[in-house]
C-alpha cells in the first residue's frame, strides 16, 4: 500500500492505543481493514521497553520512592498510588501535559503506546441490568440504549481473549463470565467472606475478577503470553504477559495481520469533518517532537483517546457544520462527567488465624459487589458502592530494637492481620460536572487546554457516610478491632475511573452516541472509551469499554460493507 500510504489514506483510524484503542485495532485489522493507530505518547514495545521489569528490590535507587524533585514537578501524579520509581516512565508528566482546574481534578494519564493498560488495576467485573437500567429506574442521566443481553456475548468474547480469572459466584448484580480459575482469598479475607455470608443477606465477599492468565490455553500461547507468575509488579510491564495490556495482547495481534500501522508521538489535534460529504474524513495530527502538522484520512474513525482526552479531541473538532465540536448539536458534549468516589478507606485488625500465612504475591484483591439499593431503593441516597478489600499479615515491631528486631523481621508468621477496605461509589452524572476547552490557552502543541469543573455532591457525601457505617459494622461483628475510617478528601479523578461527556442514549436531543457508540450526527465516528458512559455504576469500567469496542467494530464493519458509512 505504498501509494496509498503516501496519501495517508487508510480504511480506519483509531485515536489512542490504550485498553479500548488496542481492542479497536485488533478487531478492525482482523476484519481486513487497513488501520492507522495514532498514539500521542512514545513507543513501548512489549518486553523490549519495560526497563525496570526485572530489577531486584535492591537495584532501585530509592526503594521505590519518587524523588523530591520529581514530586515537585509532578504534584498531581505524585498522588497516584501507582506512580513509583519503577513505573514513573509510563505516566504523562504534569509539566508537559497541563490542564485547568476550575475545581480540583487529578487527571492521571499514561504517556505511551498501551496507555494506561500498562498501569491499570486489572479488575474486570461485568455490569448487570441493575446497572444498565439504573438511570431509567432512579431518574438520572438518560436511559442506557443497551441492556445486559446486548453486551453479554461481547463480554464473553473479550474475556476469552484477554484472559479473566474469577470465580462463578452466581450473584445477580455481578454476572459470571468466561473465567479462568480464580485467585485465592487469603485467610483473613476468607474469614470475612464467611462472616458476611452467614450474617448478611445479599451481601457477598468474593475474589475480584481480574485480567490475569491463571491457566494456559492455546489462545494465550498464540499471543505469546503465559500464566501470571504472582510477582505483583504489574506496573513495570509484565515480561510474561501475565496480565492483559494492549502492548502484550491486542497490538501485537493486530500487527500480525499486516493491516496495522502504529504511529507513536502522534497527537491528534482534531477530527476533520467535510461539510459537503456530510461525514468525517480524517484527523489532523501534531508530531509530539517536531510540532509538524499532518493529516490522515479514513472511512471510519474510532476515538479512544481516554475518556477526558476524547472529549478534548471532539470539542476541538470544529467545522461550519459543527461549530461547538464534532457531533455536538445539543450542546451536551463535555457534560455529565462522572467518576467513582474513592474517598472512603477503612482499616481494621484481626487478631486470629495466627497459624497461617500466604505464599507468593497476589496481584489483585477481594471485592464486595454493590449491596445498597440493588433490588429497591432503601437509603436516602441514590445507587450504591462496591468495596475493594485486601487483607495482609502484620507484625508489631515498634517496640523492638537490635537483635530482637532482626528476629522479628525474619519471622514468617504474623502477630495478626489487617484488612483494608476501599469505597468504590457510583456518582450521579450531572450537567454541571463538565470539561470544556479554554481557547485562550494552548499547550505546546497548539491544542486548547482542557478545563475541569467536576465535583462531589450531597449524594456522594451520604454514600461515604453509609460506607463507613456499613463496612465498619460488618467488620466489628466479624471480630475485627481497631477499626479506623478515613476520608481521603481526594479530588475526583484520582480514582482513574473518569467517564462520560460523550454519552450514549436513544435520543439525539439528549445524548451524543447511539446504541452502537456512533455519533448520532456523524455516523462514521465511533467513541468507545470511557467518554461514552451514560452512567458509571460501581464496577471497574475497563472490561465494559473492551466489550463495547468489539461490539461497535463489528457493527461498523457491517455498515461499511453495506456502504452506509
Amino acid at each position: 500500500m505504498g501509494e496509498r500510504n503516501a496519501r495517508h489514506e487508510y480504511d480506519a483510524i483509531v485515536i489512542g492505543s490504550g485498553i479500548s484503542g488496542g481492542w479497536a485495532a485488533k478487531e478492525l485489522t482482523e476484519k481486513g481493514l487497513k488501520t492507522l493507530v495514532l498514539e500521542r505518547g512514545k513507543e513501548v514495545k512489549h518486553l523490549k521497553d519495560y526497563p525496570t521489569t526485572n530489577l531486584m528490590p535492591w537495584e532501585l535507587q530509592h526503594a521505590g520512592d519518587i524523588s523530591f524533585k520529581e514530586k515537585q514537578d509532578n504534584p498531581i501524579l505524585s498522588r497516584c498510588y501507582n506512580y513509583k520509581e519503577d513505573s514513573k516512565h509510563f505516566f504523562a508528566g504534569d509539566k508537559d501535559h497541563p490542564y485547568e482546574q476550575t475545581k480540583p481534578f487529578d487527571w492521571i494519564r499514561g504517556d505511551q503506546v498501551g496507555g494506561k493498560s500498562l498501569l491499570w488495576a486489572r479488575h474486570t467485573q461485568r455490569w448487570s441490568d441493575f446497572d444498565f437500567t439504573g438511570p431509567a429506574r432512579d431518574g438520572y442521566a438518560v436511559d442506557w440504549p443497551i441492556r445486559y443481553k446486548d453486551i453479554a456475548p461481547w463480554y464473553s468474547y473479550v474475556e476469552t481473549f484477554a484472559g479473566i480469572s474469577g470465580n462463578k459466584d452466581g450473584i445477580d448484580s455481578l454476572p459470571d463470565g468466561e473465567f479462568l480459575p480464580p485467585m485465592e482469598l487469603n485467610c483473613v479475607e476468607k474469614h470475612f467472606k464467611d462472616h458476611v455470608a452467614k450474617n448478611y443477606k445479599n451481601r457477598h465477599v468474593i475474589i475480584g475478577r481480574c485480567a490475569h492468565i491463571t491457566e494456559m490455553k492455546p489462545i494465550y500461547a498464540q499471543q505469546g503470553r503465559v500464566s501470571c507468575q504472582y510477582r505483583d509488579l504489574c506496573r513495570r510491564g509484565c515480561p510474561f504477559g501475565g496480565y492483559f495490556s494492549s502492548n502484550a495482547s491486542t497490538l501485537p495481534w493486530a500487527e500480525k495481520t499486516g493491516n496495522l500501522t502504529l504511529l507513536p508521538d502522534a497527537i491528534v489535534h482534531s477530527v476533520i469533518y467535510d461539510d459537503k460529504a456530510g461525514k468525517a474524513t480524517g484527523v489532523r495530527v501534531i508530531n509530539a517532537k517536531t510540532n509538524a502538522a499532518t493529516e490522515y484520512f479514513a472511512k471510519i474513525i474510532f476515538v479512544n483517546a481516554s475518556a477526558m482526552a476524547t472529549n478534548q479531541v471532539l470539542l476541538n473538532s470544529l467545522s461550519p457544520r459543527f461549530p461547538q465540536g464534532l457531533g455536538n448539536d445539543n450542546g451536551l458534549l463535555g457534560k455529565f462527567i462522572a467518576f467513582h468516589n474513592f474517598r472512603g478507606k477503612i482499616s481494621a485488625r484481626y487478631n486470629g488465624l495466627l497459624d497461617y500465612t500466604t505464599e507468593g504475591r497476589r496481584p489483585g484483591s477481594a471485592y464486595m459487589p454493590r449491596f445498597r439499593n440493588v433490588y429497591k431503593q432503601e437509603t436516602d441516597f441514590l445507587r450504591g458502592y462496591a468495596v475493594s478489600l485486601a487483607g495482609r499479615g502484620v507484625n508489631d515491631i515498634a517496640a523492638h530494637w537490635g537483635e530482637t528486631l532482626k528476629n522479628e523481621l525474619a519471622r514468617k508468621d504474623y502477630d495478626g492481620w489487617s484488612i483494608n477496605a476501599g469505597l468504590m461509589g457510583e456518582t450521579i452524572p450531572k450537567e454541571t460536572n463538565t470539561v470544556s476547552l479554554n481557547r485562550q490557552q494552548n499547550d505546546k502543541w497548539g491544542i486548547p487546554l482542557l478545563q475541569f469543573n467536576v465535583d462531589y455532591d450531597q449524594n456522594d457525601e451520604a454514600m461515604l457516610k453509609d460506607f463507613f457505617e456499613q463496612v465498619a459494622e460488618m467488620l466489628e461483628t466479624g471480630g475485627f478491632t481497631d477499626i479506623k475510617t478515613r476520608d481521603t478528601h481526594q479530588a475526583p479523578g484520582l480514582d482513574i475511573h473518569e467517564m462520560g461527556g460523550v454519552r450514549m442514549g436513544n435520543d439525539p436531543q439528549t445524548s451524543l452516541l447511539n446504541k452502537w457508540n456512533q455519533l448520532h450526527a456523524c455516523k462514521n465516528v465511533f467513541v468507545t472509551d470511557g467518554a461514552c458512559m451514560t452512567s458509571t455504576s460501581t464496577q471497574n469500567p475497563s472490561l465494559t469499554y473492551m466489550a463495547l469496542t468489539a461490539r461497535a467494530v463489528d457493527y461498523a464493519f457491517k455498515e461499511l460493507k453495506k456502504q452506509n458509512l
Binding site: 526485572n54 531486584m56 528490590p57 535492591w58 537495584e59 532501585l60 535507587q61 530509592h62 526503594a63 520512592d65 519518587i66 524523588s67 523530591f68 524533585k69 485467585m183 485465592e184 482469598l185 487469603n186 485467610c187 479475607e189 476468607k190 507468575q229 504472582y230 510477582r231 509488579l233 495466627l354 497459624d355 497461617y356 500465612t357 500466604t358 505464599e359 507468593g360 504475591r361 497476589r362 515491631i397 515498634a398 517496640a399 530494637w401 537490635g402 537483635e403 528486631l405 532482626k406 528476629n407 523481621l409 525474619a410 519471622r411 514468617k412 508468621d413
Partner: protein
C-alpha cells in the same frame, strides 16, 4: 544466632558483598546533604537499630548510604534542615536524658535511649522526628537489601500464590 540460620548465612555469604538500594550511586556525593560527621552519627544510630550480631548489621550492609540517598533525593530542603538540626541536638538530648555521652553507652543503653525517644513522644520533636526517620529508613533499607531478601528466600518470580498456608515455625 541459631545454628540453622548461621549455616544459611555462611552458605549465602559466599560473595560477601551485599547490595542495597542506592548502592550504585554512593559516589554521587555532590548532591548529598550530610557532612562526614553527620553521616557517622546516622551510621551509629542505624547500627543501633539493626546491629551486627553474627549476621550483618546496618553498617556492614551500607544502609547509612541508603539513608543518606533518601534524605538527599527524596526530602525537601526544609525537611533536610530539620533532620540535620535533629542530628545536632541528638547528642545533647542523650546526655540530658541518660546522664551519659552517646559514645560511652553500650548497645543496650543506646537501644533503650532510642526507644525512649521514639515511643515516649516526649522531649525534643526535632530529635524525635530525626530518630524515627532513621529507624524507618534503616528497616526499609534492611528489608530491601540483597542480604536480607536472600536470607528470606525472596523470589522475584514466585510462580504461585497460596492464600492460606499453615505457617512453618521460625528457624530463628
Amino acid at each position: 544466632m541459631k545454628r540453622r540460620e548461621a549455616i544459611r548465612y555462611l552458605f549465602i555469604t559466599g560473595s560477601a558483598v551485599w547490595l542495597f538500594p542506592a548502592c550504585g550511586s554512593s559516589s554521587e556525593n555532590a548532591s548529598q546533604v550530610l557532612s562526614i560527621s553527620e553521616l557517622d552519627l546516622v551510621t551509629d544510630i542505624a547500627e543501633t537499630v539493626i546491629p551486627s550480631t553474627g549476621t550483618p548489621g546496618a553498617k556492614e550492609l551500607g544502609i547509612q548510604h541508603f539513608i543518606h540517598k533518601m534524605i538527599s533525593d527524596c526530602r525537601s530542603a526544609a525537611y533536610q534542615k530539620d533532620f540535620i538540626a535533629g542530628l545536632h541536638a541528638f547528642k545533647d538530648h542523650i546526655k540530658k536524658n541518660t546522664g551519659n555521652n552517646w559514645a560511652a553507652l553500650t548497645t543496650e543503653d543506646r537501644q533503650r535511649a532510642l526507644n525512649g525517644i521514639v515511643l515516649k513522644n516526649g522531649g525534643n520533636k526535632t530529635v524525635q522526628n530525626c530518630v524515627k526517620e532513621i529507624r524507618e529508613l534503616t528497616i526499609n533499607g534492611y528489608k530491601s537489601s540483597e542480604y536480607y531478601l536472600k536470607i528470606q528466600d525472596y523470589k522475584l518470580v514466585p510462580g504461585h500464590f497460596y492464600g492460606c498456608v499453615k505457617v512453618k515455625k521460625n528457624i530463628v
